[in-house]
């Protein structure tokens, strides 16, 4: 079995060299990733099992495209979603429309329960900064609130929505400039940690049991 793996690895690396691909498809260096993320080596390997599953759903190319991402999240690729798009964009640090394993692992690292809160604050700020201007403005908040209410089957009048946003800005916009900048965001979530609840995935703590990886152990042992 391990000869097979070795063979595959050689094949992989020659293909990679040959195609000069920038994306790393597999855990080419799980130890490096483990060093640079919150994950342990075995968690990286388990994460890779998940990655393989997701990335082979539509096109089996070892990469996650937007459709596969949507499929994995919503179990349907028919759903357009403002937020899923933002999340995908934030995962896609190379901005080439696809997620390699490294991008996948690095992004998910932020969602680990043990990840530093600063990373969660940073990620969430960028997530909500829809136009990526470096601040969250009222119109963006409104857009997100409306999208969320629609999803909840709630039909609120514009007045009520404006009130909700007014109150939020009253509290958050301490500089009174009509925008929430990174510092104000930080202060807000430090006061209300539950605002970051979607930035933590408890599943990541148990990932080695959910996705046991048998295959790549040998890679770690090899020198």
């Amino acid at each position: 079995m391990s000869e097979c793996i070795d063979g595959l690895r050689h094949l992989f690396s020659s293909i990679l060299k040959c195609c000069d691909l920038e994306e790393s498809r597999g855990p080419v260096d799980p130890e490096l990733l483990a060093r640079e993320t919150v994950f342990s080596v075995s968690e990286i390997e388990a994460l890779y099992e998940l990655f393989k599953k997701i990335s082979s759903a539509v096109i089996d190319d070892g990469l996650i495209n937007k459709e596969e991402f949507q499929l994995a999240l919503f179990k349907t690729n028919k759903k357009e979603s403002l937020f899923a798009d933002r999340v995908f964009d934030l995962f896609d640090t190379k901005h080439n429309g696809i997620l390699g394993f490294e991008e996948f692992a690095r992004a998910l690292s932020v969602f680990h329960p043990n990840a530093p809160i600063d990373e969660k604050i940073e990620f969430s700020f960028q997530l909500y900064d829809l136009k990526q201007q470096g601040f969250i403005e009222r119109q963006e908040v409104k857009q997100m609130v409306v999208a969320t209410l629609a999803e909840s089957g709630m039909n609120l009048s514009d007045d009520v929505i404006e009130n909700i946003i007014d109150k939020t800005f009253e509290e958050a916009d301490t500089k009174h400039d009509g925008k929430i900048d990174k510092e104000e965001w930080r202060n807000l979530v430090l006061r209300h940690p539950s605002l970051l609840k979607n930035m933590t995935l408890q599943y990541l703590k148990d990932i080695t049991t959910t996705f046991p990886s048998f295959v790549f152990h040998s890679q770690v042992d090899d020198t």
């Binding site: 997701i54 009520v160 939020t168 609840k197």
Partner: protein, 172 residues
């Protein structure tokens, strides 16, 4: 007026980001979950106050002979009238009420185990109660069935749905 709320909030309005964080699209746990009939979630809108919303939940449960157990803003729903510990079955159905604005709530119904049919019937029952225009006249709760862990005596006096108009919120 604020006595009925057990969860301290600075105003009757939810923080916009709290609301946004409730969005399922931002919940990446889908990446780890298999498509599973066991886990089901629904959100329903309720143009009622928190206490009225709870009454409707109780009514919906009663209609289906389900017993309920309330813990703060969450109601656990069990099949059958008896809520003795030993009869807590494999069903895991709950309804959580989140106040979004005065007289506007979101109910999150969640099932993590148990029969799909019970869950669906409950959602249907509650949904029709929530969209009813009339006030809940006689939700005469069988007091024995309710086990409030946080006693909300004030709310039971509030039969009057004061703020039914769409702009129903007290002036701030």
């Amino acid at each position: 007026m604020d006595a009925e709320r057990t969860v301290p909030t600075s105003s009757n309005f939810i923080n916009a980001f709290q609301l946004i964080a409730m969005n399922n699209d931002l919940d990446l746990s889908g990446l780890f979950e298999e498509e599973d009939d066991n886990i089901q979630k629904t959100k329903l809108g309720s143009k009622n106050t928190i206490s009225d919303t709870f009454k409707k939940i109780e009514a919906a449960a009663n209609d289906l002979s389900l017993s309920i157990q309330r813990q703060n803003n969450k109601i656990k729903i069990h099949p059958g009238r008896s809520f003795a510990r030993c009869s807590r079955s494999h069903s895991n159905l709950s309804a959580e009420v989140i106040e979004v604005a005065p007289a506007h709530c979101v109910v999150e119904i969640c099932k993590s185990a148990g029969e799909l049919s019970v869950y669906k019937e409950f959602c249907k029952s509650l949904s029709s109660l929530l969209t009813e225009k009339s006030s809940i006249a006689s939700v005469a709760p069988d007091a024995a069935d309710l086990s409030d862990e946080s006693q909300e005596t004030a709310s039971s006096e509030e039969e009057v749905n004061g703020s039914k108009d769409p702009r129903g919120y007290s002036s701030s």
